[in-house]
Amino acid sequence: MIDLSVDLPGLKLKNPVMPASGCFGFGREYSEFYNLRQLGGVIMKAATGEHRLGNDTPRVAETASGMLNAIGLQNPGVEKIIANEVPFLAKYDIPILANVAGSTVEEYVAIAERFNRSESVNALELNISCPNVKEGGIQFGTDPSMARDVTEKVKAASDLPVYVKLSPNVSDIVEMAKAVEQAGADGLSMINTLTGMQIDLSRRKPLLANQTGGLSGQAIKPIAIRMIYEVKQHVAIPIMGMGGILTAEDVLEFLLAGASTVAVGTANFQNPYVCPEIIEVLPNVLQKYGFDSVKAAIGKGHEA
C-alpha cells in the first residue's frame, strides 16, 4: 500500500492533490463531475472584503501550452462566501483552504479574522501575488517588507495556519520566502501566475481588457520547479507546489523539488476530472520511481 497522506500545519490530507485557487470556483461546478470527497483538499477562489466585479472581458487568452487570465478577483465577498459557499464544501469532509486577497493590510486582516470565526475553514492561503488587480495584491508579493508586514498582521489576527502564496514575478524568490517565514507563515504556496500579455493583431491592442494577465499552465512548470527547488534549500516551512501540473508524474516532480503537497489549476479546464485521475494513478507512479509514500518523496530531488 502506497501511503498518499501528508500532514501539514492545520491540514491532515489523505492525498496531496487539491484544486488551485480560482480554477475551481467554490467546488459546485466540479461536484457535478465527481465526488469532491476524493480530493486531498480544496482551495477556494480568492475572497476579498467586499463583493468585487472584477475586470472587463475578454478575461482569458490562450498561449502556447498555457493561458493568460485577468479575472480580477471577482467574488461575492467574504461574508457571502462563508454564508453560501463554505457550507456546501464542508459537506465533503475535506480540508478547506480560504484564499485571501486584499488591497490593504487592513482588508487582509479583516478577511482573515472573518474566516477565523467561521466554522469549516482549515487554513488560509494569503494571496499576496495576484497580478490582475490595479491596486494591492502584487506589491505585497514583490516587496519583502510589505510581505512580512501583511503576514505578521494576519498571523496575529487569526489562529488558522497561514500559507503565503508567492509571486514568481520577482528577482529573488528566496528573499521573499525567507521574509514570510520569519514573519510566522506556516507554509508557502507557490507559484502564482507570471505576468504576461497577448496582442490582438487585428484590433492592434492587448487582447485582454486588463491588458496584462497571469500566465498559467504547463508552460510555467519549469519556473515553478526551479523556484520551489531554490526555496526548499532555504526555508523550513512546508511548500504547497503548483504551476502547470497535468499528470501524476508532474506531481512527483513537484514533490522531488520540495513541495509537500500540490495544487492543480489550469488543467481542470482541459479535463474536469484531472484531480481524481491524478489521485488514482499517483500510487503507481510513486511505486514506479521507488517510493512507498508521498512523504518519502518530498525533497528527494535534492542531492545529498
Partner: protein
C-alpha cells in the same frame, strides 16, 4: 452528474468559404441536446477548449451537427479531423433558447455569419411545435452563405450580404421592416449586430445568444461574465447563457 464524453467524427465538409459542417456520433448527446446549447471541444495541443454551438441533433441517428468557421488554429485543426476520429467533449453545455408555445405563434430568427448555426436547430424544433418561422440571415459576401435552402423549408427566409454579392445588400437590420408580424425574435451573431437588433427591436420580446472567451466552460472560473442588472451584477455566458432574454444583460 455532468460528463465529459467522447464523440466520433462521422463527416467533415466545407459548406462555404472557411465554413465547415461536422457530424458527430454520440447517442446520449443527440438525445439530450437543446437548441442554443453548445459543445465544449478539446483540440489536441491547445490549452483551452473551443465552444461550438449545436447546429442540429438527430436522436434517431444519434448524431449531432456542428458548423464552424476556421478563424484560428483550433478551428483549423478541427477542420482537418477525419471520420472515425475521436473528439473529447464537455456538453451539451449552457441553457437553451426560451420558447413559450403558448404566446409565440410566429418566431423571427436573425442570424449573422457563424451565428447562424444554432438557429437552424432552433427553427427545426419550433416548426415541430407548430410555430411559424421567418428567417433573416446576414453574411459578409456570397462565398460565405450557407444553409439558405434549409431555412427556406421553415418559411420565408431573407438573405443579406454586406457587399451585396448575394441577396439584399446591407445588414440584417435593414431587412427587419419587411418581415411582417412576429411574436418573439431569436438572434445570434456578432455583438455589433446584436446591439443594433436589440436596439431596433426594443419593443419586441426576444432572445439573444452571446459569445465570450471561456476558461472552464462550466461556470467555475468567471472568465465569461457579462454585466447584468440582477443581484450579483453579472451573468456567466457558459452556464447562465449563452442565451439570454434581450435586455437581461448589458451588451
Amino acid at each position: 452528474m455532468k460528463k465529459r464524453v467522447d464523440m466520433i467524427v462521422q463527416s467533415v465538409r466545407e459548406i462555404a468559404l472557411d465554413t465547415f459542417e461536422m457530424t458527430l456520433q454520440n447517442a446520449e448527446t443527440a438525445n439530450t441536446a437543446k437548441p442554443g446549447q453548445f459543445l465544449y471541444l478539446s483540440v489536441e495541443g491547445h490549452t483551452l477548449r473551443r465552444p461550438i454551438s449545436i447546429a442540429d441533433a438527430d436522436p434517431e441517428s444519434g448524431t449531432v451537427t456542428i458548423l464552424f468557421k476556421t478563424t484560428g488554429d483550433g478551428t483549423k485543426h478541427l477542420s482537418m479531423f477525419c471520420s472515425g476520429m475521436n473528439l473529447d467533449v464537455i456538453g451539451p453545455t449552457g441553457n437553451g433558447f426560451y420558447c413559450d408555445a403558448g404566446t409565440v405563434k410566429t418566431a423571427l430568427l436573425i442570424g449573422g455569419g457563424i451565428g447562424v448555426p444554432p438557429l437552424y436547430y432552433l427553427g427545426k424544433e419550433l416548426r415541430k411545435n407548430g410555430i411559424g418561422v421567418i428567417t433573416v440571415l446576414g453574411f459578409q459576401s456570397k462565398e460565405y452563405v450557407f444553409y439558405e435552402e434549409m431555412f427556406q423549408e421553415f418559411g420565408k427566409a431573407y438573405v443579406a450580404t454586406n457587399d451585396g454579392s448575394y441577396g439584399y445588400q446591407g445588414y440584417v437590420t435593414d431587412i427587419l421592416d419587411q418581415v411582417g408580424h412576429f411574436d418573439h425574435y431569436y438572434s445570434c451573431g456578432p455583438i455589433s449586430m446584436l446591439r443594433a437588433i436589440t436596439s431596433k427591436l426594443r419593443t419586441h420580446s426576444g432572445s439573444i445568444s452571446l459569445e465570450e472567451r471561456m476558461g472552464c466552460g462550466i461556470g467555475a472560473c468567471f472568465a465569461c461574465v457579462i454585466p447584468a442588472d440582477n443581484e450579483g451584477g453579472y451573468r456567466k455566458i457558459c452556464t447562465d447563457g449563452p442565451v439570454f432574454a434581450a435586455g437581461e444583460v448589458r451588451l
